[in-house]
C-alpha cells in the first residue's frame, strides 16, 4: 500500500472539498477546489485511490506546497 500526500500548487482559500475521509476516488477527479487569483483551481486525484485523511477545511487560507490530504493506493 502506498500513501501519497497531496499538496497545494498554489496559495489561496479552500473553496470546496468534494469528498470525505474513506471515499474512493478515480484518477482525474477533482478532490477539492482552491480559490486563488480569481480562479477556482481544482486539485485532482493523480491516480485511483482512497482518501485516508484530509488536513484542511472549507475557507481555510493555505500556502503553496501545504499538505491538503493523504491518498492510499
Amino acid at each position: 500500500m502506498k500513501k501519497t500526500i497531496i499538496k497545494s500548487d498554489v496559495a489561496g482559500v479552500v473553496n470546496e472539498i468534494c469528498f470525505s475521509k474513506g471515499d474512493i476516488v478515480k484518477k482525474g477527479e477533482s478532490l477539492l477546489f482552491i480559490e486563488s487569483m480569481k480562479m477556482e483551481i481544482p486539485i485532482e486525484a493523480p491516480f485511483d485511490s482512497e482518501i485516508e485523511e484530509i488536513f484542511t477545511k472549507k475557507d481555510e487560507v493555505i500556502s503553496q506546497n501545504q499538505p491538503l490530504l493523504t491518498l492510499k493506493s
Binding site: 500548487d9 498554489v10 480559490e35 486563488s36 487569483m37 480569481k38 480562479m39 477556482e40 483551481i41 506546497n65
Partner: protein
C-alpha cells in the same frame, strides 16, 4: 598480398566491428529489451540509407585496439522520410561508450559537416562519461578540449536526442543541448554517475532520484517526452523531425491535412466554461483548432500551467503556446516562463509561426516564485517574445491580466491580436486595485468602499479593447481555426532574423 586477400580481410574486419562489444553483451541487452547501437540506427533511418564514417577508429591505446570497435560511438549519415540526417549512436558495449580523444574526433566531424550541410543530428545517448584511465593525469587532460566549438549550439539545424540508458558526461551535455529530448523510463541523465558521487561526496543516491524520468520530465523539464521502449523513442524522434525544416534556411515541410479538421471546431464552445472562474484544459482547445491528430506536446509534464505544442494548421507547422487554466488556473510560474521561453527560441530559430492562446489571471505571484527568480524569468520570456520575428498571433479566450497580458502577445507584442467575446482584459481586479491605492478591503466595512470599487472598475470587455484598437478583431470562437489559417497566410514572412539562435538551451 593479393587484392582479393586484402578485400577479404577488409570484409572480415567490417564484420568484426559490427559485432560491437561481443555477442555476450549484446545478448544481455536483447534480453532486457534494449536495442543495440546499430539496431537503433537501422530503425531510425529509411531502409538502406545509412552510411557510416569512422568505422575503423579505435582507442589510441594500442592495447585496447581490438577491444574498441568504432571506439564506442557509431557515426554517419542517412535519410529519414527521404531527408538527410546525421547520427551519433553510443555503443555501451564498448567501454561503456565512454568519450575518448579518438571518438571525440568523429563527433566533431559529424557536427561540423551537419552544420555546413544544413542537416539535423540525432543523438542516441547511452554513455558512461569520459574514458578512464585514458583521460587521467596531465597527459590525459591535455588531449581534452581540442575542439573549441564542441559545445556551441547555434541552432542552424535541429538536434534530437534520445536518452536510452545511463547518460553521464558528454552524452548528458549533447542531450541538454538538443531541441527535443525523449527519455526511456529506467534511463538516467546526470553530470556523473551515482558511483562517482558515492566516493566524491559520500552521497548515496538512487540513480532514478539522481536523474530519472520523473526528475527530468517534471522537475527539470529537460525531457520533453517519456516512453517505455527504444522503438517508441525512435518513432517520436522521427515524428518530431517531420514538423521541422532540415535547417534554418528552409521552411518546415508541408503535410496535407487529410481529415476534415474544420468540422470539430464547433465543439469549442462546450470546452470553455461560461463561468470564468471555472477551469478547462487548453490542450483540448489546441486539438480542436489544429489539424486532426497533429499536436505534438513539448515538455508536457513540466510546468503544466503553460502548454507548448507543435501542430499543423492547414498542413503547415505552427507552434502553439497557451496558458492552461486547468493547472494553477493558468497563472504561470517561473518554470512555465522557462518552458515558453525555450519554445519561443526554438520556433523562431526554425521558422515556425507562433500562436498564443491566452487565458491567464496573471503570473503566479508569491515567495516560492521570487526564490526562483520570477522577475528574471518573466523578462527572459518577454525578451524572447520581442526578439521573435516569425509571425505571432495572439488569441485572447477569456482572461488576460497584468504583465502576463504583454507576455502573451498583448499590445504590439504579436503581429495580430484577436479576442473572443468572452475576453476580459485589465491590469488587476478592482478589489486588488482598491486595496493597493485606498488601502481598503471589503471586510474593513468602510462606507466609501463601494465608491472606491466603482472608480476602479472600468470596462474590461473585448469590445472596449477593440474600440481603442488594443485588439484587431473580435471573432466567434468557432471561426478561430479558419481565422488563424487566413491570418497566418497574410502575415507569412520569408526567413526570419533568427536573433536567438545562440540562446542557451537550458537556463
Amino acid at each position: 598480398m593479393t587484392h582479393k586477400n586484402r578485400i577479404e580481410d577488409l570484409k572480415k574486419l567490417n564484420l568484426k566491428i559490427e559485432e560491437m562489444g561481443g555477442s555476450e553483451k549484446l545478448k544481455v541487452r536483447k534480453k532486457a529489451g534494449y536495442l543495440n547501437a546499430r539496431e537503433r540506427i537501422d530503425l531510425f533511418f529509411d531502409k538502406g540509407t545509412f552510411f557510416e564514417i569512422g568505422k575503423f577508429v579505435t582507442s589510441s591505446n594500442d592495447q585496447d585496439k581490438d577491444k574498441t570497435p568504432a571506439d564506442g560511438k557509431i557515426t554517419g549519415y542517412g535519410k529519414v522520410s527521404n531527408r538527410k540526417v546525421a547520427v551519433i549512436s553510443n555503443d555501451l558495449t564498448v567501454k561503456g561508450a565512454s568519450s575518448s580523444n579518438m571518438n571525440t574526433k568523429k563527433i566533431s566531424f559529424i557536427k561540423k559537416s551537419a552544420e555546413k550541410l544544413g542537416m539535423p543530428i540525432a543523438f542516441f545517448g547511452e554513455s558512461s562519461g569520459a574514458r578512464m584511465p585514458d583521460i587521467m593525469g596531465a597527459k590525459g587532460m591535455s588531449q581534452a578540449g581540442q575542439d573549441n566549438t564542441q559545445y556551441i549550439r547555434t541552432r542552424r539545424a535541429p538536434w534530437v536526442s534520445a536518452i536510452l540508458g545511463p547518460c553521464y558526461g558528454s552524452s548528458a551535455w549533447y542531450s541538454v543541448l538538443s531541441d527535443f529530448v525523449v527519455m526511456r523510463r529506467g534511463s538516467v541523465l546526470a553530470v556523473s554517475s551515482p558511483k562517482v558521487l558515492s566516493l566524491a561526496t559520500n552521497e548515496t543516491v538512487d540513480p532514478e532520484e539522481l536523474g530519472g524520468w520523473e526528475m527530468h520530465s517534471q522537475t527539470t523539464g529537460i525531457a520533453d517526452r517519456i516512453v517505455d521502449t527504444d522503438h517508441e523513442a525512435i518513432a517520436l524522434m522521427k515524428s518530431f523531425l517531420s514538423y521541422l525544416p532540415s535547417n534554418n534556411n528552409e521552411i518546415p515541410p508541408y503535410r496535407k491535412d487529410t481529415k476534415d479538421s474544420l468540422k470539430k471546431i464547433d465543439e469549442i464552445l462546450s470546452v470553455i466554461p461560461e463561468n470564468s472562474k471555472r477551469t478547462y484544459d487548453m490542450r483540448e482547445v489546441i486539438n480542436l483548432i489544429a489539424d486532426d491528430d497533429t499536436s505534438f506536446p513539448m515538455k508536457h509534464n513540466f510546468a503544466k500551467s503553460a502548454v507548448t505544442e507543435l501542430a499543423r494548421l492547414n498542413g503547415k507547422t505552427v507552434g502553439f503556446i497557451g496558458s492552461n487554466p486547468k493547472f494553477n488556473g493558468g497563472a504561470m510560474d517561473p518554470h512555465a516562463c522557462d518552458k515558453i521561453t525555450s519554445f519561443l527560441v526554438f520556433c523562431d530559430s526554425f521558422n515556425i509561426p507562433i500562436i498564443l492562446l491566452v487565458d491567464t489571471p496573471g503570473f503566479l505571484i508569491g515567495v516560492e516564485g521570487e526564490k526562483q527568480k520570477a522577475p528574471g524569468k518573466i523578462m527572459n520570456f518577454m525578451t524572447a517574445l520581442q526578439l521573435c520575428t516569425v509571425p505571432k498571433i495572439s488569441v485572447i479566450l477569456r482572461k488576460s491580466y497584468g504583465q502576463a497580458y504583454l507576455n502573451m502577445g498583448g499590445g504590439s507584442n504579436s503581429d495580430l491580436v484577436i479576442a473572443w467575446p468572452s475576453a476580459e482584459v485589465s491590469f488587476i481586479s478592482p478589489e486588488l486595485g482598491v486595496w493597493v491605492v485606498n488601502n481598503k478591503k471589503i471586510h474593513d466595512k468602510d462606507s466609501n468602499y463601494n465608491d472606491y470599487i466603482k472608480k476602479m472598475t472600468h470596462d474590461n470587455s473585448a469590445l472596449e479593447l477593440a474600440r481603442s484598437f488594443g485588439i484587431q478583431d473580435i471573432i466567434d470562437p468557432r471561426n478561430t481555426r479558419q481565422y488563424l489559417i487566413n491570418a497566418l497566410e497574410t502575415f507569412e514572412k520569408k526567413i526570419p532574423n533568427h536573433s536567438m539562435s545562440n540562446w542557451p538551451t537550458t537556463f
